[in-house]
C-alpha cells in the first residue's frame, strides 16, 4: 500500500495508440519532457498502453522502480480509466493514485492539422497531470452488499422479458408500469412484424408468465416518485397514481425499459386535418377485419398510401435527426398484408431500410403483391392537400423522373420513434444522460450498450434507441444478465470520491446542507458545537458543497482544491526549462 506521506515517485507512460496519437503528437518528445519533471522517476512511450504488453510494462516498472503514482497519457479516461486503475492495483498501487491524460480525443484527433501545437498541448497536459499526481492521495476501496432485488421500470415487452429472466434465475423483481395494463406498445398492435402474430398473441403469454411468477411483484398504475442510494443499495419510492399511496422499496439494481412513443406528426402531411390521415402506430391499432374502413365515413379503403421517415431523418431538427429503424420493415409488412384488401397501395420513401432477418423478404413480398414503391427527393417531400374530406397527394418520383398525384382513402404516416413525454423526468430520476435522439446514452455505444454511467442502472429496449420488438427482447435478456451479474456476486465496489467536512474549520453555517442535491449533509448534533457531517453512502461526489463552503471546510476526495489548482499552476506557471513548448 502506498502511503500518502511517502515522497511521490511517478511513472509516466505515453501511448502511441498506433498512429492515433503518434501520427500527430511527437510522443517521444512528450516522454522526454516528462522525464525531467519533479517527482518523475520514469517516463517512456509505448505503442499500446492498454494492450497486455503495455499493462505488463506498467506493472513491471512499478515493481522495479518502486513507483507510487502512475500517469498514463493516452485516450480519454472515460474509456480506459477503469482499465488502468485495475492495472496499478494489481501492482499494489491504490487506484486513486493513478491519473490519465487524454492525448487522443483532446489533442491528436482534434488538432491533427497542427502537429507542433498539438505536441505543445500534449506536453502541457502531461505536466499538469504529473503535478496533480504528486498531490493525489490514497483513498480506501470500499465495497457494499448488493440487495438481491431488481427494479424494472416499464412493463413493455423489454421490461416483461427482463423481469421474467431475472425471476427465473432466482432473484426478486419489482416491475413498475405507469399504465393500468402491462404490455406497452406491443400489446396495442393488431399485427406485428416479423412474425405473423398480433401484438396480443406475442405479449399475452409473456404477461401470463410474469403475473404467475412468485418472484415478480407487479405494480401497475404506478410511477417511481423518489430514487436515491447507490449501486447495490437503491431506495425507491413507488407511488400508485390512482390511489396516491406510496411505498418504499430497497433494491440492488435497476433496469430502465421505458420504451418509446410513436411521434404524433402534427404539422406533417396534413396530420390532424383528416381522420383518414393516421400514423403507422395508429394503423397497427386498427381492427384487422376483412376490410379496412375509413374513419371518416366508414366506407372501405380502396386506396392506401404510406409515407416513410415522418419526423425521422431530419438533419438539424433536434430529436428528429435519427432513423427510427423499425418503420421501413413495418411498412413493408403492413403494405404487403393490406394489399389484398385494397385496390392500390403505395409506399413513398427515401431509402428502404429493410435490414433485418426476413425483412428484405417483406419488402420483396410487398412488391410482388403490386405495392408501388416511389422514392421522393430528400429536399422535396410529398405535398398533401385535404379538401372536402378528400386527401390529395402530390410528389416527384425521383426514379421515374415524373410528377405524381394520388388521392388515397387512407394516408399512413410511418412516424418516428421518440422518447416518451416523461423521458426527462426518468432521466433526472436515475441521473441518466440523453443523446441527440433523445433516448438514453449507454455507458459505451459499442461495447457497453446496456449499462449506463449511473452504476447499477441498466437500460433495455427502445429506452436506448429506436428498436423493434425482437431487438428489445434481446436487449432485455442482456440487461437482465447485467443485473444478475451484480446480484450473484453479492458485493460491489463503490467510489470513494466523496466529500468530507473538517469539523475544526466548519463554522456551522448550514450552507452545504442546503447546497447538497442529495440530502447527504446534515448537522452533527452530537458534536459541540454542531458541525456539518456527510453521509458518505448518499454522497455522489459532485463537489457542490465544497464550492459553496465559505470556510473551505469541505474536502472533496480525489478532487481537492489543491489537486485542481496545481494543474492550473503547472500549465500557467511552469518553471523555465520545464515547460511544454513555445507558450508564455
Amino acid at each position: 500500500m502506498s502511503d500518502a506521506k511517502e515522497e511521490p515517485r511517478i511513472g509516466v507512460f505515453v501511448c502511441h495508440c498506433g498512429h492515433n496519437i503518434a501520427g500527430t503528437v511527437n510522443v517521444a518528445a512528450v516522454a522526454e519532457m516528462a522525464r525531467h519533471l519533479p517527482h518523475v522517476a520514469f517516463a517512456t512511450d509505448e505503442m499500446f498502453m492498454c494492450s497486455d504488453a503495455g499493462q505488463t510494462l506498467i506493472k513491471e516498472k512499478i515493481k522495479e522502480l518502486n513507483l507510487n503514482r502512475v500517469v498514463v497519457a493516452s485516450c480519454s479516461p472515460r474509456m480506459h480509466e477503469p482499465t488502468f486503475r485495475r492495472v496499478v492495483e494489481e501492482a499494489d498501487v491504490n487506484r486513486y493514485l493513478f491519473d490519465q491524460v487524454n492525448l487522443r480525443e483532446h489533442v491528436s484527433w482534434c488538432h491533427s492539422r497542427e502537429p507542433e501545437k498539438a505536441t505543445e498541448k500534449a506536453k502541457d497536459l502531461v505536466r499538469m497531470s504529473v503535478a496533480r499526481a504528486a498531490k493525489l492521495e490514497y483513498l480506501p476501496i470500499k465495497s457494499v452488499d448488493v440487495i438481491p432485488k431488481t427494479l424494472v421500470v416499464g412493463g413493455g415487452i423489454a421490461g416483461l422479458r427482463a423481469s421474467l429472466d431475472i425471476a427465473e434465475r432466482g432473484f426478486d423483481v419489482i416491475l413498475v408500469e405507469k399504465d393500468s395494463q402491462l404490455g406497452g406498445n406491443v400489446a396495442k398492435w393488431t399485427h406485428l412484424f416479423p412474425s405473423d402474430e398480433s401484438g396480443a398473441q406475442v405479449i399475452g403469454p409473456l404477461i401470463h408468465d410474469v403475473k404467475k411468477h412468485k418472484r415478480i411483484k407487479i405494480l401497475v398504475n404506478s410511477k417511481v416518485s423518489e430514487f436515491d442510494g447507490y449501486i447495490g443499495n437503491f431506495g425507491v419510492t413507488i407511488k400508485n397514481q390512482s390511489t396516491g399511496k406510496a411505498h418504499r422499496y430497497e433494491v440492488g439494481t435497476v433496469i430502465v425499459s421505458t420504451g418509446f412513443e410513436p411521434f404524433k406528426p402534427v404539422g406533417y402531411y396534413g396530420y390532424g386535418t383528416s381522420p383518414d390521415i393516421v400514423t403507422l402506430a395508429e394503423l397497427q391499432e386498427m381492427e384487422p377485419g376483412k376490410q379496412l374502413l375509413k374513419s371518416s365515413d366508414g366506407k372501405p379503403v380502396k386506396k392506401i398510401v404510406f409515407i416513410g421517415c415522418v419526423g425521422s431523418r431530419e438533419p438539424g431538427k433536434k430529436g428528429h435527426e435519427h432513423c427510427s429503424r423499425h418503420c421501413c420493415s413495418a411498412t413493408a409488412k403492413a403494405a404487403g398484408d393490406l394489399r389484398d384488401r385494397v385496390d392500390e397501395a403505395l409506399v413513398l420513401y427515401q431509402d428502404i431500410r429493410t435490414y433485418g432477418k426476413g425483412h428484405e423478404e417483406f419488402h420483396r413480398l410487398a412488391r410482388q403483391k403490386h405495392v408501388i414503391y416511389s422514392k421522393f427527393p430528400q429536399d422535396g417531400h410529398p405535398e398533401v392537400e385535404v379538401k372536402n374530406g378528400k386527401i390529395k397527394l402530390r410528389w416527384f418520383d425521383v426514379l421515374g423522373g415524373v410528377e405524381l398525384q394520388f388521392e388515397p382513402d387512407l394516408l399512413v404516416l410511418a412516424s418516428a420513434m421518440i422518447p416518451p413525454v416523461d423521458m426527462d423526468e426518468t432521466a433526472k430520476m436515475f441521473s441518466l444522460t440523453r443523446s441527440g435522439d433523445g433516448f438514453f446514452n449507454p455507458e459505451h455505444i459499442k461495447l457497453a450498450p446496456l449499462t449506463t454511467h449511473t452504476a447499477g442502472v441498466m437500460i433495455a429496449g427502445a429506452a436506448q434507441a429506436a428498436k423493434n420488438a425482437s431487438e428489445s427482447v434481446i436487449d432485455a435478456s442482456g440487461a437482465a444478465a447485467k443485473a444478475v451479474g451484480l446480484m450473484a456476486q453479492g458485493k460491489v465496489e463503490i467510489e470513494s470520491t466523496v466529500s468530507h467536512v473538517l469539523p475544526d474549520i466548519c463554522s456551522s453555517c448550514h450552507t452545504c446542507v442546503t447546497a447538497c442535491p442529495y440530502g447527504a449533509i446534515a448537522m452533527d448534533e452530537e458534536h459541540d458545537p454542531p458541525v456539518a457531517i456527510v453521509t458518505e453512502a448518499k454522497c455522489k461526489g459532485c463537489g457542490t458543497c465544497a464550492a459553496a463552503c465559505p470556510s473551505s471546510a469541505i474536502v472533496m476526495y480525489h478532487s481537492t482544491d489543491e489537486q485542481i489548482l496545481t494543474m492550473v499552476e503547472a500549465y500557467l506557471c511552469a518553471t523555465p526549462g520545464l515547460q511544454g513548448g513555445g507558450s508564455v
Binding site: 472515460r78 488538432h111 463537489g543 513555445g582
Partner: protein
C-alpha cells in the same frame, strides 16, 4: 490596449492565448471527447481541467487561473436541467454573476471568461465555444495588461 502594455510584450507575435477550460465530466468533457472522435478541428489553446460537475467550481478557481496568468477561462457544463448531479450546474450559473462582478472589480475584462453548456452529444458546440473564447481573448490581448 495601451502602448505601455504593448512594449512590455516583447514577443507579441508569438503570443498565443492561454485558456483554462473547466469541463464537467458528464457532459462537456464527453462532448470534447466526441469532438475528438468526430475529428472536429478547433484551436489548440485550451487546456481542459476535468471536474465532476460545474457545481464543484467555486469562483476562486476562475480567479486563481486568471491570477496565475490565464488569458481566458472557459467553464463548460451540462445544460440546465440535464445535470448528472441534478442541479450542480444551476449553482454554477448562480455563482457566475457574482464571479463576473468580482473579476471586473479586479480590473479584468469579463469577456475573458465564458460559461457555456455543451452536452455529451454537442461536440460542435464545445468546439465552437473554445473557438469563440480564443478569438475573444486574442482580441483583448494578454492578461498581463489588465491586472491592477
Amino acid at each position: 490596449m495601451n502602448t505601455e502594455v504593448s512594449t512590455s510584450m516583447k514577443t507579441e507575435k508569438e503570443w498565443e492565448p492561454r485558456i483554462i477550460a473547466y469541463c464537467c465530466n458528464w457532459c462537456s468533457y464527453a462532448g470534447a471527447d466526441l469532438a475528438g472522435t468526430s475529428r472536429i478541428q478547433y484551436p489548440t489553446n485550451a487546456r481542459i481541467v476535468r471536474v465532476n460537475c460545474t457545481g464543484r467550481l467555486s469562483p476562486e478557481f476562475v480567479l486563481a487561473a486568471l491570477n496565475m496568468g490565464a488569458d481566458g477561462v472557459l467553464v463548460s457544463g451540462c445544460h440546465p436541467g440535464d445535470c448528472h448531479y441534478t442541479s450542480g450546474n444551476l449553482k454554477a450559473r448562480a455563482r457566475w454573476a457574482l464571479m463576473e462582478t468580482a473579476i471586473e472589480q479586479a480590473g479584468v475584462d469579463p469577456r475573458r471568461v465564458r460559461l457555456q453548456w455543451a452536452s455529451a452529444s454537442e461536440a460542435q458546440i464545445f468546439a465552437d465555444g473554445v473557438k469563440a473564447i480564443v478569438e475573444q481573448v486574442r482580441e483583448l490581448g494578454p492578461i498581463r495588461s489588465e491586472w491592477k
